[in-house]
């Protein structure tokens, strides 16, 4: 009786308390088992994260510090005394900074135009700015090569002896590749600003420009900082665009690949990886600790987010700019299927489906099938592990939950090349001998892309009022039944979103997996790179078209099956 009267009170005083950690009405053997089960699950998750996130990074660090006689800083001394390598570091930083500034500026204009104004064509602009999110990251480079490469349409038409390879190519490709991330973040920030704030400024006599500067942008400042830091990490770690369109302009991410795969120089690769991690980690920590606490976006009573009419002097430039960017992205993505049906780009413009025979290499179209297998496995396993992790972190709060949360989010700051190298170093020896199997690819995708999925799960659980679980328990349902009948059904939409996220990444990722593919098991995204390098851009376009079709088709299919609103496209 005592316990029975005490239980509801404890649930009132600590609304965030959770079924598993609270004295429940009466503990049945089943519930005891459930408690032990969640504890065991928490331990298992922690072990998985230690094995697949921490261990590979430690292996990279150890390799960079290993000398013939124990620990040494010799590799770092070598790196910083080599002009060539220091120049690569500077080039990496330079290209990342320039790309970041331009990307955030463009994203800001688009997000502002879509969320705060009444320009026509907003839906189109919004849709186009999201397209790169679900495509292989380097298809933009491929499109720019078709436009402005040595055999590009524009290069030929204007008889240019200039081509886009190098710094310019990387920057323009990165801008269009990472636009979605910055756009989504800023659209979210700008879209949640109470329109009354702008109206208040106007009512107090401020003109449109003063309102924009003193109110709207001032409120968006933390969002801008956050977008800039995230895009900086993405550009810094980008592998696909530099390797395709970088020409002789080297960056760290591609140099690591050259050292490891080209020259089997693991020590040099590991040293560069650590050098590459440092700025990414700094950006990540600044974002998490400093920017994260500085959001002005609060939803208050009567707050409204609405588009406002713009004065023509602002409206038309905004329309032209955002419409132009949207149209250009449409052109970029139209070029890929177009390139796949032109017999010989830059030479013979007649149409043909020859490229779809995939005769240029022995593996044919198999890499795409491999990608689908990888994507489906990563999607299934990743969804389960991510949701369980989110539940452990958000609802059961075992002693180590902070550690689990931090380790789950850490991969955001890890370049794909570092993951790839780390996995080779960590998993080519027993007990976890995974090299040469599909599982090393699956785990790399799952754990590298883990942060976004776990955050989505945590956010979804936060939306579910703990009182719902408490209501179920007070109605006599046990913790097990509560989880199965009440919590799980509320998570289906999120589960599908997470599945789609892992599936897309399994289809399109390249930087980590390029280290981990093995003879007889190539992936579609890597095959695209190979075909471009071997001089078959048409075949690359055909592969790209199929991958795009599979990704878009599967997203649409899932949305049709489970209801459109319930499947969201997650982003970093």
């Amino acid at each position: 009786m005592d316990e029975a009267s005490g239980a509801p009170r404890s649930s009132l005083t600590s609304p965030s308390a959770v079924p598993a950690s609270r004295p429940s009405l009466q503990r049945s053997p089943l519930q005891q088992t459930w408690l032990q089960l969640t504890a065991a699950v928490a331990v298992a998750i922690l072990l998985l994260l230690l094995a697949f996130v921490v261990w590979p990074v430690l292996r990279v660090l150890a390799t960079s510090l290993a000398g013939p006689e124990g620990l040494t800083l010799a590799h770092y001394a070598e790196f910083f005394s080599s002009w060539r390598l220091v120049r690569i570091l500077v080039q990496s930083l330079l290209v990342a900074v320039v790309s970041t500034v331009i990307t955030v500026a463009v994203a800001l204009v688009l997000a502002y135009a879509v969320t705060r104004t009444d320009i026509p064509g907003k839906r189109f602009v919004s849709l186009m700015s999201l397209l790169p999110l679900i495509s292989p990251p380097f298809l933009v480079s491929l499109a720019f090569i078709l436009l402005l490469g040595r055999n590009g349409v524009i290069t030929q038409a204007l008889h240019l002896d200039w081509s886009i390879y190098g710094f310019t190519g990387i920057v323009v490709s990165q801008v269009f590749t990472f636009l979605p991330q910055a756009y989504l973040l800023l659209a979210n920030v700008l879209g949640n600003i109470d329109v009354s704030l702008e109206e208040a400024a106007e009512n107090l006599g401020a003109g449109p420009l003063t309102t924009l500067r003193r109110v709207t942008l001032s409120l968006a400042r933390p969002g801008l900082a956050s977008a800039a830091l995230i895009v900086f990490i993405l550009c810094m770690t980008d592998f696909g665009n530099p390797i395709l369109i970088g020409g002789r302009y080297n960056v760290l991410a591609t140099e690591i690949y050259a050292q490891v795969i080209g020259m089997s120089n693991f020590a040099a690769g590991a040293t560069m990886s650590v050098v590459l991690i440092v700025p990414c980690l700094v950006a990540y920590l600044v974002n998490a600790s400093w920017v994260g606490t500085r959001s002005y976006v609060t939803v208050s009573a009567g707050a409204r987010a609405a588009a406002r009419p713009m004065p023509p002097a602002l409206r038309w430039p905004l329309f032209v700019l955002s419409g132009g960017v949207g149209l250009f992205i449409a052109v970029i993505y139209a070029l890929i299927p177009l390139g796949s049906v032109v017999r010989h780009w830059g030479g013979d413009w007649s149409l043909s489906l020859d490229h779809y025979a995939f005769a240029s290499s022995a593996e044919g179209a198999w890499p795409i099938w491999n990608s689908v297998r990888l994507a489906a496995l990563a999607g299934t396993i990743g969804t389960v592990v991510a949701l369980v992790t989110a539940y452990v972190v958000e609802r059961t709060r075992p002693p180590g939950r902070r550690a689990i949360e931090a380790l789950s989010l850490l991969p955001v700051a890890l370049p794909g090349t570092v993951i790839g190298l780390g996995y080779i170093l960590a998993f080519n020896v027993p007990p976890l001998l995974l090299t040469g199997t599909i599982w090393i690819l699956v785990t790399s995708v799952v754990f590298w892309k883990f942060p976004v999925a776990v955050l989505a799960g945590i956010n979804a659980l936060k939306q579910i009022d703990p009182a719902i679980e408490e209501a179920a328990i007070s109605l006599g349902a046990g913790t097990v039944r509560t989880f199965a009948r009440v919590v799980l059904p509320l998570l289906t939409g999120t589960a599908f979103s997470i599945f789609v996220y892992f599936f897309i990444n399994g289809m399109v990722t390249v930087s980590a997996v390029i280290f981990l593919i093995y003879p007889g098991f190539n992936l579609g995204s890597v095959a695209i790179l190979n075909q471009v390098e071997n001089g078959y851009p048409g075949v690359a376009c055909a592969l790209g078209t199929i991958i795009l079709a599979i990704v878009i088709g599967s997203v649409l299919l899932l949305r049709a099956l489970v209801g459109g609103d319930r499947v969201a496209v997650l982003k970093l």
């Binding site: 208040a200 009512n203 107090l204 006599g205 401020a206 003109g207 400042r221 002005y296 009573a301 009567g302």
Partner: protein, 358 residues
């Protein structure tokens, strides 16, 4: 400054938010626009502020038509429902914003901010940010900011709706004091009829984009012209009656003969009789005849409301509300019969529109 709205109409797509509305607000007057959610009261306010353009009709300040004047040139101060304080600025910076934009000299801005801080009793909070203030303090900052530029019109959009009851009561008095000290023409939008009754010089009751009735609070309360107003302002028992004899003031309700003021309506016509709960009295069953109407019913519910008790009495299966002093409530038992009485003059006759009469 005087505000005149003439035939004001605003449509959003297929729905008409404000439908041919006309209203005069005199110089220095506080008019409260009251109505349920979606009745068009906030849209009316936004039309005056200039955030919406009317599809038809005119907004005039004194005799100047301001339809085409941009919001920032209207000399109107607004307090938003969400306060809309700039979160990146301190209290003082918020109040100074309009003055800075108008390029006042720094010294005058400083003086004016100090003045507004004193007026709204915000002393000591000048350096705080909005998220470091209580709801009531935020509300006062919003008021100070709206008034700093010495606007000639003040618009308040549900200014107290986000606050709890006690603070609401205190701030209501404070807003009224400041408004009267400054003598500023004010439109006060609220859904809370009690707030409207207590603060306004005149009340305009709105429904479906139109004004149902305009008048002084006591007028609106005592003589509601429609069943909607009778029901919305305060609580009313609405009795659907038929006139038996207009000359004698005799009507029929559910087979009961009731006396009302004579010479209302025509014989045989349906009318609504509105009875305020406090106009109904509980009397002893065998009390001597005193010219009042008598109704016999069964007591269903007794609700304790602090200063008085509210009884729900079922008569002919219909519930009537009765507000009675505590003493009357003592000794009454549920499911026992009670007798109610009201004087012929206490009923207010409303032409039957049928909408809420049952």
């Amino acid at each position: 400054m005087r505000i005149s709205l003439a035939g004001l109409t605003k449509r959003f797509g297929a729905s008409t938010a404000v439908d041919g509305l006309s209203l005069e607000i005199g110089r220095g007057e506080l008019v409260s626009l009251v109505g349920g959610s979606g009745c068009g009261k906030t849209t009316t306010l936004r039309l005056i502020a200039g955030f919406e353009r009317p599809d038809a009709g005119e907004v005039r300040f004194d005799d100047r038509v301001v339809n085409d004047v941009a919001p920032r040139r209207r000399s109107v101060g607004i307090v938003f429902q969400s306060y809309a304080l700039f979160p990146t600025m301190t209290v003082a910076e918020n109040i100074a914003f309009g003055l800075r934009v108008a390029r006042w000299p720094a010294v005058r801005i400083y003086e004016r901010v100090a003045e507004m801080v004193a007026l709204t009793r915000l002393g000591g909070l000048e350096g705080r940010y909005a998220n470091q203030l209580s709801g009531g303090q935020q509300q006062r900052v919003a008021l100070a900011r709206a008034l700093a530029r010495r606007p000639e019109i003040l618009l308040l959009d549900e200014p107290l709706s986000a606050l709890d009851a006690k603070i609401r009561l205190r701030l209501r008095g404070e807003i009224r004091r400041i408004q009267q000290d400054l003598g500023i023409t004010t439109l006060y939008v609220t859904h809370d009829q009690e707030e409207a009754l207590s603060i306004a010089d005149r009340i305009a009751v709105m429904r479906n984009g139109r004004i149902e009735q305009v008048g002084r609070p006591e007028e609106i309360y005592a003589r509601p012209r429609t069943d909607f107003v009778a029901d919305f302002i305060g609580i009313s028992n609405l009795l659907a009656c038929r006139v038996v004899s207009a000359r004698e003031g005799l009507v029929d309700w559910e087979g009961e003969r009731l006396r009302i003021a004579p010479d209302v309506g025509r014989d045989g016509e349906g009318i609504l009789l509105a009875l305020r709960p406090e106009k109904l009295a509980v009397v002893a069953e065998r009390a001597p005849e005193d010219g009042r109407n008598r109704l016999h019913g069964v007591l269903e519910v007794v609700t304790f409301l602090g200063p008085f008790v509210r009884l729900e009495v079922a008569i002919h299966g219909r519930p009537l509300w009765v507000d009675a002093p505590h003493a009357t409530g003592v000794g009454l038992e549920r499911k026992k019969s009670v007798t109610l009485a009201f004087a012929p003059d206490d009923g207010v006759v409303i032409a039957a529109t049928g909408s809420s009469a049952d």
